[in-house]
Symmetry: C2
Subunit: 238 residues, 2 copies
């Protein structure tokens, strides 16, 4: 019995370790995404290369968090909220690793687009999309620190705004492609970049749902907002 | 001590449960991908709708496998190979859930493409890509049953073939878009579909790496094959 407070403290330290590593991952993922979009609009190949190599840091972090989480579960046999806390860490780390991948995928396309130069209006559209996705990611990481289920629920609803901007960017890119066949190849790469950024919003939504689950043990109420409406778009010239 | 054989048996049952559920998920994911491509090339909206609603089954399966895995770890405190076995189940279930998502994402685009009709040559290209991705997925699920690290390593190398076909399909789609602006919107959707199928190969590669890790406790040797080479393609008309 005497050792019980000690065990609790060690367990708390392990939870704190997981929380700290996830916050770090969140900051790194944000940075990668911001850098990838900056590299894209400025045709900055060196910055793109940095994002591509930074991805390994997030991959390692996810693996380490997962292993630490599993060892903690095996050692402490936590129940209920404590167990959900650790399971949530595994899921959030996986989502952040995916966000890093999306930044890397955007960075990989910088070289293909660099030659053509991106029209000012498109660049601003991409920057705006990334800005919203990054705000959502930042907010969800703040909610992660507070563990508030109410705040987690309100972030979920934000995803629709990102999707609306993605859809208008998608239409705009198609218009450029139709105007001049020489725009087709670079705009195709930009379409994939826009899709990468839009999907960051989905991961932020996933994380918000996981935080809700960690705090309450339940899935959030209500329908999840629709993602990417462009899949049902016919020809934009109709 | 008397209860020890009983505990071992119960643990074995839990591992068998995880293995069985993952094999089921694998079969469902394969079916979803095959159906989504069939729906796409035949403009079969009803089949597309079925794929979209089937996705919930894989989402639930992943959640249930994850929860069962965590409860098993907490209850049994497995070490070494047993622990890797359970951690591997969580990872493989996550990859299969993503494969289902990719099938769903393809199915969602069926309606956008249905009006235009897909040229025979493109349809065959997509079918061929899907065929290769499904062979790879099927083989990796067979290796999962055998847990052979050697076989897991040989599957990893197969991914390059899929990437080569994806790249040629990507170029072909751009050519169609350049020939006639009316092809741009449907071909854009097909580009995303091709990308969805190509990414199935990446998940099969992930699963092969996880199986290697489960069997040996190490990451596979050698560089992971490059994914998607189209990100460095400049204009295809150059």
């Amino acid at each position: 019995m005497m050792s019980h407070p000690h065990i609790t403290t060690a367990f708390d330290e392990e939870l704190k370790y997981l929380t700290r590593r996830i916050s770090e991952m969140g900051g790194q993922a944000e940075q990668m995404v911001a850098d990838s979009v900056r590299a894209l609009v400025n045709s900055d190949l060196a910055l793109a290369q940095k994002v591509i190599s930074d991805d390994a840091i997030l991959d390692d972090a996810e693996r380490q968090i997962g292993e630490k989480a599993i060892v903690t579960i095996a050692k402490r046999q936590p129940m209920a909220a404590d167990l959900r806390e650790i399971m949530g860490s595994i899921r959030i780390a996986a989502d952040l690793e995916r966000v890093g991948d999306l930044g890397k995928n955007t960075a990989k396309r910088v070289i293909a687009v660099a030659g053509s130069g991106i029209p000012r209006k498109l660049a601003r559209g991409l920057e705006h999309l990334a800005e919203l996705a990054l705000i959502q990611l930042k907010e969800v990481l703040d909610v992660y620190a507070s563990r508030s289920p109410e705040k987690a629920n309100s972030i979920r609803e934000r995803d629709e705004e990102i999707d609306a901007i993605y859809t208008s960017l998608f239409r705009e890119l198609l218009t450029y492609m139709m105007e001049d066949p020489r725009n087709i190849t670079p705009c195709t790469h930009l379409l994939f970049c826009a899709k990468n950024i839009e999907r960051i919003g989905d991961h932020a939504t996933n994380i918000a749902e996981t935080i809700y689950y960690m705090a309450t043990g339940a899935q959030p109420q209500g329908e999840r907002p629709k993602d990417d409406m462009t899949s049902t778009l016919g020809s934009v010239t109709d």
